[in-house]
Every structure is written in structure tokens, then in C-alpha cells.
């Protein structure tokens, strides 16, 4: 593989592991467009010397300038809080690292990115076979440094949590996830009947 391809491949991995923020960007753009269209309409009406459509610029400015008069304090505070929360949503979308629930697997030729959900279901399959239970009795959650395996045994048949842990760790090692997460196996105290 050429150096150029290697460099681009690692760049692709970094890009794929983070969100592009395309959805909040599109929402923000649509909101700005709607506001701009309305302001444009009122400004054009004003420039042409026509009557305002909904609210003329002077009336609007006067109303904003005389706040909090004429509005109940509760409504004003609630509207402010709503506006603040919407702003916070967009601000956090921009500032947070935006990591996606994905993992990258080392590969010589290609960039491999795996959804955490796919890995979780393969771990759940290994855990289920090691524990000898039905698919519904195993729940696997993948965090960044921790893999949580919850097993509900069939009533009367004990589950060897050491064997489950070994199976899950073996699968993780084969997948070569970096960094290797810690495996927590929790066997529920009460069993299920008739699986």
C-alpha cells in the first residue's frame, strides 16, 4: 500500500468515527432561512412604502425595546428558557467532540469501522453459546472502556460466569479492538422459566 493511501485511510477512519453534524447544520440553516425570508418581506414592503404584512419593523423594534412591559413575566421567562435550550442544543452540537458509537478494527489494506451495535450482537452470540441460554437472556452494552454482559440464567441451570467472560474476551481479542475494553459479566440472581 502506498504512503499516500495509508495517510488517507487513517484520515478516513478519524472522520468516520466522529459525527459530521450535518443534521443540526441543516436545521439551523432552515431556521435562519425562514427568519431571513420574513425579514426580507417586511423590509421590502417598507422600502416600497406599503403597509406591513404582520408586524412593521418600527413596531417590532419598539415592542422589543419596551420589554418586559406588556408581557407577563412568566411567559417571558419561559420563552427565554426555551430559546436558551434551543441555543444550547446547537452550541453543544458544535462544541462536543461528537464521537459516534463506532469502533475501528486494524486492517492492512482498508479502513474498517464497525458500529458498536454489530460488535455487541456478535459478543452476545458468543456469550449466549458459552452460557447455554437463549438469545433473549443475554444483553451486551458496549462503552468506550467497558463491555457489560448481563445474563439471565434459565431457572435451575447455573451459568458459569468465568466461561462467559473468557468467551467474550476471546471474541474481543480476535476483533482486535483498540484499546481493549474491560469485560463485566453480571449473572442475574433470578432465572427465567421455560426458555
Amino acid at each position: 500500500m502506498t504512503d499516500d493511501t495509508t495517510r488517507l485511510t487513517s484520515e478516513v477512519i478519524r472522520r468516520e468515527m466522529h459525527s459530521s453534524r450535518a443534521v443540526p447544520a441543516t436545521i439551523a440553516a432552515v431556521l435562519v432561512i425562514l427568519v431571513c425570508l420574513y425579514v426580507m418581506l417586511e423590509a421590502a414592503l417598507k422600502a416600497l412604502g406599503q403597509e406591513p404584512w404582520l408586524l412593521g419593523p418600527e413596531t417590532a423594534a419598539g415592542w422589543v425595546g419596551s420589554l418586559p412591559e406588556g408581557v407577563s413575566p412568566t411567559v417571558l421567562a419561559a420563552a427565554g428558557a426555551l430559546l436558551f435550550l434551543v441555543g444550547l442544543f446547537f452550541f453543544l452540537a458544535a462544541v462536543l467532540p461528537g464521537r459516534r458509537a463506532r469502533l475501528s478494527i486494524p486492517n492492512e489494506r482498508t479502513a474498517v469501522v464497525v458500529d458498536a451495535e454489530v460488535l455487541a450482537s456478535s459478543l452476545a452470540r458468543r456469550a449466549r453459546i458459552a452460557a447455554g441460554v437463549a438469545p433473549e437472556q443475554v444483553l451486551v452494552t458496549i462503552g468506550r472502556r467497558l463491555v457489560d454482559v448481563q445474563v439471565r440464567p434459565t431457572s435451575g441451570i447455573p451459568v458459569n460466569d468465568g466461561a462467559v467472560r473468557a468467551a467474550v474476551e476471546d471474541e474481543l481479542r480476535r476483533t482486535a479492538v483498540e484499546p481493549v475494553p474491560e469485560v463485566h459479566v453480571i449473572v442475574a440472581k433470578s432465572g427465567v422459566i421455560g426458555q
Binding site: 426580507m40 417598507k46 425595546g65 478494527i105 492492512e108 489494506r109
Partner: protein, 202 residues
């Protein structure tokens, strides 16, 4: 993989969020009498200043300032910029996998269409029973063509096995084409892999 302007997204979103947060915070604190008094005097001063500017820009014989036309045009400009921003999200699909017009060893140009790789990989992947679906697309990444292979395995299929086998296919494709492009294998879960049966007899 695509050409979504990620830095621009972050800057503009942060700016938009900050403005909304400031406006919201101000509206929330207007209930405090001191803040309300400050706001009303500041607004009155700003209003006078704006009135002065509007009067100064009103041409003789006109009722209103020509600044309103400027405002309307600015809004049109802003709408166009926003539309351009939206249009750039997820951009970057390309139809060319490889292009070469070197005069050495023979003059002439060779173009390999993206459909070659897409259809070859798609056909090879559609035979597999452990995948519910697959999608292959070509993007232009940093000015170079790059392949994106998206595979949707059934529940419980080990992702490293899928990745290994797809990358063998990619290596075979390299041999056939004689060029190496960056390749992304994205092992994803979709609605179809979630709702289909976990295993099939193989």
C-alpha cells in the same frame, strides 16, 4: 469520507447557538427590575441612533430610507449562503474510480468508471448469506477517489470476519484494476439486520 464542511459546520453551529443562548438568557433575566431598566435605556439609545441613520439616508422626496432595500438584499444574500451551506452537506459522490492521462509509456487517457468497482463488489457481496445488504459508493476524498463499502451483517455475525473477507475482495479488485484507492469498510447495523432472524443454517 464525503466533503461535508465539518469545520464550517462547527463554527456556524456554535455561533448560531451562542446567539440564541444570549437572546434567551437576556429574556430570562428581564424579570429582574435592574436588568429591565438597563435594557429599556439601552434599547431607547440604540433606537435613537438607528432613527438618526435612517433619517440621514432618506433621499429628498422619499418617505423611507433606502437602507431598507439594502436590508432586503442582505437577507437575500444570507438566504443564498444558507442554501449553499445545506447543499454542501454530504457532497462528494464521484463517478470516476481512476483516471490517468500520462504520456508515458503511451500517450492517451484511461478512465475507469466507478461503476466497475461498485458492481463487482456488490455482486461478490450479494452472494453471502451472513450479510443482509451491502452498498458500495465512490467518493472524492481530498481530491482523490475513494471507495466506501457499507455492509449490513446479520445479528451475531463477527465483524472482524466480515471485514477480513471484504478486504480480501478489495485486494482482488486492486489486482484487477492495477490502482489502489483508499477504501472504507463500514460494518453497520440497520433496521433490516435488527429485524431479520439471527442465524441461518450454513
Amino acid at each position: 469520507m464525503n466533503q461535508t464542511p465539518r469545520t464550517v459546520n462547527r463554527i456556524l453551529l456554535g455561533l448560531f447557538g451562542l446567539i440564541l443562548m444570549l437572546a434567551g438568557g437576556l429574556a430570562m433575566t428581564l424579570g429582574v427590575p435592574a436588568v429591565a431598566r438597563w435594557w429599556q435605556t439601552t434599547a431607547a439609545q440604540a433606537g435613537e441612533a438607528i432613527d438618526g441613520v435612517l433619517d440621514a439616508t432618506t433621499l429628498a422626496g422619499q418617505r423611507d430610507s433606502w437602507l431598507w432595500i439594502v436590508v432586503a438584499l442582505l437577507m437575500v444574500l444570507l438566504v443564498i449562503l444558507m442554501l449553499a451551506w445545506v447543499a454542501n452537506q454530504g457532497k462528494g459522490r464521484s463517478g470516476t474510480l481512476a483516471y490517468d492521462d500520462d504520456a508515458d509509456p503511451v500517450p492517451g487517457s484511461v478512465t475507469i468508471n466507478a461503476a466497475v468497482a461498485e458492481q463487482a463488489l456488490k455482486a461478490a457481496l450479494s452472494e453471502r448469506v451472513d450479510l443482509v445488504n451491502s452498498a458500495v459508493s465512490t467518493y472524492e476524498f481530498r481530491g482523490k477517489p475513494a471507495l466506501k463499502v457499507r455492509v449490513f451483517p446479520r445479528q451475531g455475525v463477527a465483524p472482524y470476519v466480515v471485514a477480513e473477507e471484504v478486504s480480501t475482495l478489495v485486494a482482488a479488485l486492486d489486482e484487477v484494476l492495477g490502482v489502489q484507492t483508499p477504501v472504507l469498510i463500514s460494518v453497520s447495523s440497520g433496521a433490516r439486520s435488527r429485524f431479520t432472524r439471527a442465524e441461518r443454517v450454513r
